[in-house]
């Protein structure tokens, strides 16, 4: 499996173009291509497989934001960038668990990614805030809001799905849910 994986690492250009075009296939290739590298880093620095997954996914989110905002320059290798971001994220987690971070075993070159990392932390906080608000919202509100704002269902679809007698009732319900969600979101 891993031999096949290592032979299927996509070129950096492929990945950047794929991400800009929202290609899921490009994401898959990227994901499979560099996971072993991050896994190796985490396992050798007092983490486990689950830590590797979390850190790697966070690093890809950082890369995504960077590419989508048009700031990623192909002058730095994608691999080095992902490695450096993963490393930065893991060091922070180690520090939070008050483990030593002075004896890190490295396997790749490291870039300075502090700026991207800090921006990501801000966004991550916003994500958590929304997630918490949604989790506290309760059903059916959570599903109605997610259907409308994330899965882009129309009010008509929602009305049918939840069995409201008319769209006005569905709209009223969605309005109430939204008010509660906004209250939760802005309070957190």
């Amino acid at each position: 499996m891993s031999i096949k994986l290592s032979s299927s690492i996509p070129t950096d250009r492929e990945v950047v173009l794929g991400i800009l075009n929202n290609s899921e296939e490009a994401l898959n290739k990227l994901y499979l291509g560099y996971f072993p590298m991050v896994l190796q880093f985490i396992l050798n620095n007092s983490g486990d497989e689950a830590d590797a997954k979390d850190v790697y996914q966070e690093a890809i989110i950082v890369l995504y934001d960077k590419i989508k905002s048009g700031k990623f320059e192909l002058s730095s290798k994608l691999k080095t960038y992902l490695y450096s971001v993963s490393r930065r994220i893991w060091l922070k987690k180690l520090a939070q668990q008050s483990k030593k971070t002075n004896n890190i075993a490295d396997f790749e070159d490291v870039l300075a990614v502090d700026e991207d990392f800090e921006r990501h932390e801000e966004k991550d906080q916003q994500f958590d805030q929304m997630k918490k608000a949604l989790d506290n919202l309760g059903e059916p509100c959570k599903t109605i809001i997610q259907d409308f704002y994330i899965h882009n269902l129309s009010m008509q679809d929602i009305c049918e799905k939840f069995g409201y007698t008319n769209t006005d009732n569905a709209k009223t319900q969605k309005y109430k849910c939204l008010q509660r969600l906004k209250k939760l979101f802005f309070q957190l």
Binding site: S2, F35, L43, E49, A52, N103, Y149, I150, F186
Partner: protein
Amino acid sequence: MNNDIQLESIIEDYLNGRLNPAELAAFEQLRSNDPVVDHKVVAHNFFLESMQKYAETSILKAQMDNAHIEIDVYEISAKVKPHSSKVVRIWRNNKSAIAIAASFLIMASAVLLSSYSLNKQEGNLQLLDRKVSQLNQSQNNIIRVITNDAQKANRAPAKFGGTGFAISSNGFILTNYHVIKGADSLYIQNNKGVSYKVKKFYMDPVNDIAILKVTDLSFVSLGAVPYSIKKTNAGIGEAVYTLGYPKDDVVLGDGYVSSKTGINGDTLAYQIAIPVNPGNSGGPLLDNNGNIVGVINGKEDKTDGAAFAVKSRYIIEALNAIPQDSLSKRVGYGKKSILQGLKRNQQVEKIQDYVFMIKVYN
């Protein structure tokens, strides 16, 4: 209510650019006239952006989870994980510490072999000798030659001392068994020179641990104990320090854990590179975060700096063996010590009120 619902849906259409020119003009007019509406627009815009970002990230995460299932994580991790042999790993990670420890041991044995001069000190010397004979009993003839010295020295003065530390606020003091063994009467003395009478409360000769209880009525509560006891083992090279009473004032000793086993491979103890002297026995061994990792209980005679400490695990065993309700504000296990992050001098400042000289009369 209906008006609110309508306003909200107009705001959403406005932000999504779905109003026709006439509606747009009317709404912008309303917005500039009514600050409440304007505020709603700004807040809703921020909310929608966050929701948009949340939606994108959620979808991306779901896609990544899908990709993740494809990966045989354990097959890859078998290839890339650190060397499975613990020995190799410890060696790789602690090369320098092991090298120091090894050279240290070589030096120690050289000194042990070369010199046997018996220029013993007066006074608290007794304690060390008692300790040595204790080691001889429990650890079979490692330094049997010294037993003779011990017997000789035992004829000397009858008063000796050690160190102990509080394990609760209400006067329970932990020290070494060998310090108080055979004592007729026992006193502890704090760093201000005040003495209290204590009695033996619990004794564990195998692990060389004893717990004393203050019986003096004049003793006042010490307050919550600042250190906590470390549950896990300390590693080789870990920086440690001890406070003790080799003289009448408290003395700080500083060093590192040099081996995971004590004399002759004794797994109950660590070997530590700290210069200790008679009187240090029973003192707490702390790491840089203010966790107790052991109790000083002896040193290799004829060698400076090779000392031994009973591992903290056996302190916890002893504490668990006595009635828990008798200990008020007992020292915590494995918890974060309040000393964590403090500088060494600040830690010592806080700890020294909890470390006592043990005075033994027989």
